[in-house]
């Protein structure tokens, strides 16, 4: 059976930090794009990442159009679309329910996760589409599936789109869990308060053909903690397993990883366990940072958004520094404070989700 190489040949994103160019400028300048919101919850402040209220679906089309324009494709008629999203159209359902106090005017098709792929398919007419919803690993899992399909030769082109909008359910839900920060989040900081919910859209075109500017998607893997619905395994077994398998899938040794783009939500539980996983598995102590300090946690979009950041770090040969960090909780991991230029061949990007769902993807510079 053929085993094609998989290349990221075009991408674009939109987050509270702006498009991909603006995002990378913010990351290297250590300038968080989180704002402190007082509208979602009465009597509670929350650090949130928003790009333009009510502009989510037009932005989704615009980001996808930009990827098409960057690519060598004239349209997406021979491209599979894989969407990763955790909330789909729930924001619109909320608005209708809050207004009407009933479900009558909710269109189930516009409520579902698949509203994102339906919207894109109406505009771009993809060969086929499917949607993945595994909470905060949704678009990382979309990347993993895309890689496997191209490797096998089932598709030549796959567009992965991670997309989630801000909504009351997630903002108030994370508040109910007691993990929402009232300030800009401080991943890996001792005594950190929690996470910032954010919205984001990220699209990557994966192909079996190499171009000059390609970044290779070398490896991916998933695992389950089988420990708790929201708390990660404190021994980091699931996180270590998926990182290790992704590195093996890429045909690499752990010592070859040059940078870790951490899941790094800023919650007590996630960051402690992820730091332990990196400390345990990557003995050569590569630089690691969480860019959620800039973008907030874009939930189902995070895997795709951070995949783009991983590609940019490789292209720019410059480590993404850790923003909003004074005193790290775990002094054994390497959390760089400056955007250091460095030879970067391989980057691993982690995503972890409710249900103990873990995914890691490995990107590499062209050989």
């Amino acid at each position: 059976m053929s085993k094609n190489r998989v290349f990221v040949n075009a991408y674009e994103s939109l987050s509270c930090a702006g498009d991909t160019v603006a995002l990378m400028e913010a990351i290297y300048a250590k300038k968080s794009a989180i704002t402190i919101d007082t509208t979602y919850m009465q009597d509670h402040k929350a650090g949130l990442g928003s790009f333009a209220p009510n502009e989510f679906f037009p932005s989704l089309i615009s980001v996808t159009q930009k990827v098409l324009e960057q690519s060598d494709l004239k349209d997406f008629s021979e491209t599979l679309l894989i969407v990763g999203s955790s909330v789909g159209g729930i924001g619109k359902s909320e608005q209708i329910f809050f207004r009407d106090k009933s479900y009558k005017n909710i269109n189930p098709k516009e409520h579902a996760i698949s509203v994102i792929s339906d919207t894109l398919d109406k505009t771009f007419a993809f060969k086929d589409s499917r949607s993945i919803s595994t909470a905060c690993t949704s678009s990382a899992n979309a990347l993993m599936l895309a890689q496997r399909l191209i490797r096998l030769g089932a598709y030549k082109n796959v567009l992965v789109v991670g997309a989630d909008a801000l909504c009351y359910t997630t903002v108030c839900g994370f508040q109910a869990l007691g993990v929402l920060s009232t300030q800009k989040c401080t991943p890996f900081q001792e005594g950190r308060e929690g996470m910032n919910v954010a919205e984001g859209i990220a699209a990557l075109l994966l192909q079996d053909t190499q171009e000059t500017q390609s970044i290779e998607l070398c490896g991916s893997a998933g695992s389950s903690d089988a420990f708790h619905m929201t708390n990660p395994d404190p021994e980091a077994g699931g996180a270590i397993a998926c990182m290790q398998k992704a590195i093996e899938d890429a045909g690499l040794e752990t010592s070859q990883i040059d940078y870790v783009n951490a899941h790094g939500t800023g919650t007590q539980a996630n960051d402690a366990v992820e730091a332990l996983a990196v400390e345990t598995l990557l003995k050569h102590n590569p630089p690691m940072s969480s860019t959620k300090a800039i973008t907030g946690h874009t939930l189902g979009a995070a895997g795709a958004l951070e995949a783009i950041i991983a590609c940019e770090v490789i292209k720019q040969q410059r480590i993404a520094p850790q923003t909003s960090l004074d005193v790290p909780e775990n002094a054994q991991v390497n959390l760089p404070s400056v955007a250091e230029a460095k030879e970067i061949k391989y980057v691993i990007s982690n995503s972890f989700a409710f249900g103990g769902n873990n995914t890691a993807v490995v990107f590499g510079a062209l050989k």
Binding site: S114, R130, I132, S133, A135, A154, A221, G222, S224, G355
Partner: protein, 214 residues
């Protein structure tokens, strides 16, 4: 790209309001865990048990996810009441297979598909890919649990407010011996139809081998 798969086990469950015979006490002996299970999770662990599957890769699908948890959260926000943390943790689309992984300490990959009416077609495709990738058996489950208060305000076509379908498959080099025919399955949510087609084709047929698109 199509590849061939041996269908090992199949199972279906449905009820107009609530599935009453899910055998939860035997399948989930720990009361604390059993009490937390959503309706979709109860259907999931029942179907997995019927397919005699407890370890390995799982692909789960649902067009509408955890409707009760979602309704509870939105209702609480509207009423300016506290949200239940359990409702929020149970509101994600991968809740049901995650409880399955907790129950069986299954640390394998779990994927959840939500593609509207195409959900079970995509579950079959993704399950086939996972089976080929790992060269191992995969459990595929698709379910809908939409029996919430006032669902009639939006439900126009689904008679079975709780329903689920499951199958386990393993890749094979043998020729396909069973043809799957597309049908309408009256009363079931369309998101289940493609997997119900497979079950209908393989029913009472030992050693059924089907071709699945990746």
């Amino acid at each position: 790209m199509k590849m061939n798969f041996k269908v090992i086990k199949t199972a279906v469950v449905s009820a107009e309001s609530k599935c009453e015979t899910l055998d939860e006490k035997r399948i989930v002996p720990k009361m604390m865990l059993r009490r937390r299970l959503t309706r979709a999770a109860r259907i999931m662990v029942y179907l997995a048990d019927a397919c005699e599957f407890s370890e390995g890769s799982v692909v789960y699908g649902s067009a509408y996810g955890e409707m009760q948890a979602t309704a509870d959260i939105v209702g609480a926000i509207d009423a300016q009441e506290p949200i239940s943390p359990t409702a929020f943790q149970n509101s994600v689309y991968n809740t049901a297979p995650s409880y399955f992984s907790l129950l069986h300490k299954n640390k394998s990959e779990i994927l959840t598909i939500s593609s509207g009416d195409e959900t079970s077609r995509n579950v079959l495709q993704t399950g086939a890919l996972q089976a080929v990738t790992n060269n191992a058996a995969v459990l595929m489950v698709c379910s809908e649990a939409i029996n919430i208060a006032n669902i009639e305000e939006v439900n126009e076509c689904t008679k079975y407010l709780e329903s689920g379908v499951a199958l386990t498959v393993v890749p094979t080099d043998e020729e396909a011996n069973t043809t799957v025919t597309l049908q309408e399955h009256e009363g079931y949510a369309p998101s289940l139809w493609a997997m119900l087609d497979v079950v209908a084709a393989c029913e009472e047929k030992e050693g059924a081998i089907i071709a699945l698109q990746l």
